[in-house]
Symmetry: C2
Subunit: 207 residues, 2 copies
C-alpha cells in the first residue's frame, strides 16, 4: 500500500498490529476516526492510555480492578469460601453473565502449555495456593477450558493443593444446550453417557 502521508502510514501500521486487523481494515478504521470530531480521537486515545497506566489487578484474585481489590473480592454479598479458578478475565465476565455463581474467583492468566513456554511460574498458581492456605476455603471450582492444557492445569493445581478439607470440583462436561447430538464429538458424548444424571435434574433445571 502506498501512502501519501507518513502520519497516515504510521497510524495504519500501529492499528494493523492488533490481532485480526489487516492494513485495509486499519485504513478503514482510521479514515472513520478522521471523519469524526477531534474530541472523538482524544477520548479514544485517552481511554486506552488511561487504561494502560491506571488499570490495577486485584491483589487477591488477579481480576482487573480500579482498586487494590476488585469489586467481587470486596463485596459482602459474595461467598468468600468458594473460589472459582479461571483462565482469564473474559471467563470471569462470562460466568458473571450467567448470574449463577456467587463466590469469588482466581484468575490464573492462562493454562500450562510447555510448548509455548508457559510453566507454573508464569501463572498465578502460587498466590492461589497461598489463598487456600490462609483463607477459609471450602470449595475450589476448576473452570478451565475443556482442553488437554486446561485439564492438565486442573490436575496440576489439584495435586499441589493437598488440603483434605477442600472440595475440588470441575464444571460438568456433557452435550451443550441447543447442540445436535449427531454432531457432538465422541469424547463429549462418551463422557455424557458415563456421567448421566437422574432425570429429575433436567426437570428441576428447566422448570
Amino acid at each position: 500500500m502506498q501512502f501519501s502521508s507518513s502520519l497516515l502510514e504510521n497510524a495504519v501500521s500501529e492499528f494493523a498490529k492488533l490481532p485480526g486487523i489487516g492494513k485495509k481494515t486499519a485504513l478503514r478504521l482510521i479514515l472513520y476516526i478522521l471523519k469524526q470530531d477531534a474530541s472523538f480521537t482524544a477520548n479514544f486515545s485517552n481511554a486506552i492510555m488511561k487504561l494502560r497506566n491506571e488499570l490495577l489487578f486485584c491483589t487477591k484474585c488477579h481480576n482487573v480492578s480500579d482498586d487494590k481489590n476488585c469489586k467481587i473480592c470486596n463485596s459482602d454479598f459474595r461467598k468468600k469460601n468458594q473460589i472459582c479458578v479461571v483462565e482469564n478475565i473474559r471467563d470471569v465476565m462470562a460466568i458473571e453473565h450467567t448470574q449463577q455463581y456467587n463466590g469469588t474467583y482466581h484468575v490464573l492468566g492462562g493454562v500450562l502449555s510447555p510448548l509455548d513456554g508457559i510453566g507454573p511460574e508464569q501463572l498465578n498458581i502460587q498466590s492461589l495456593i497461598k489463598r487456600i492456605e490462609t483463607d477459609e476455603i471450602d470449595e475450589m471450582i476448576m473452570a478451565l477450558s475443556p482442553t488437554i492444557e486446561g485439564d492438565t492445569t486442573s490436575y496440576y493445581i489439584a495435586k499441589k493443593i493437598n488440603a483434605q478439607n477442600i472440595k475440588i470440583t470441575t464444571l460438568s462436561r456433557g452435550v451443550a444446550f441447543g447442540g445436535e447430538l449427531e454432531y457432538t464429538d465422541e469424547i463429549t458424548l462418551a463422557r455424557a453417557f458415563t456421567n448421566r444424571l437422574p432425570f429429575e435434574n433436567l426437570v428441576n433445571e428447566t422448570m
Copy 2:
C-alpha cells in the same frame, strides 16, 4: 457485559464505536494491548493523536498530505494536465497501486447523495472547477464508483464544467477480469456488448 473495572469498560466502549467492531472484539483487542509492553500503548495512542492533530489535506487535490501540497501535486514527474476525479483517498491509493496513471488527482470527499444530505456544497467540486479554470488541464478522468450516485456526480460535474478544450473521460465499464460471465449482472453485460472493443486491444493488453 459486566466489567469489574470502569477503565476497562470505558476503553471497550470507545473501541466499540469504530465501525464493524463490537464489544466482544473490542475487549479482545484491548486485552491484547494490555498484554503488550507499555511502549506499544504509547506508540498506538500517539500515532492516532498525531495523525488527527497534524495531518493536512493538500490544498490543491484534497488528498491527505504531510505538507501544504501532497507528494503527487509536487512531483515533477506527474502530468499536470490530467486530473483524475475520485471519491476518497482510498481510491487514490487503489489507482496508484496499479502504476498505470501518471497524472494528478482531485478527491471529492464523496458523491452526491441528497438522501444522505450530501449536495454539491459538501463536496470539493468548487475547487475542482477553479483548478480547471486556472490551470492548464487537457483531460479530466471521472473515476467515481460505477453506481447511480457516482454516475450522477459525474454528470453534474461534466455539466458544470462547460470548457470546450477539455476532454472528459470515464473509466471503461465492462466485465471484470477473472469474473464469470454467467454471474455478471445484466447492465454490465449489456454495456460490455455496446462498448465492445476491437480484438487487437485485448491482444495488445495481455501480450
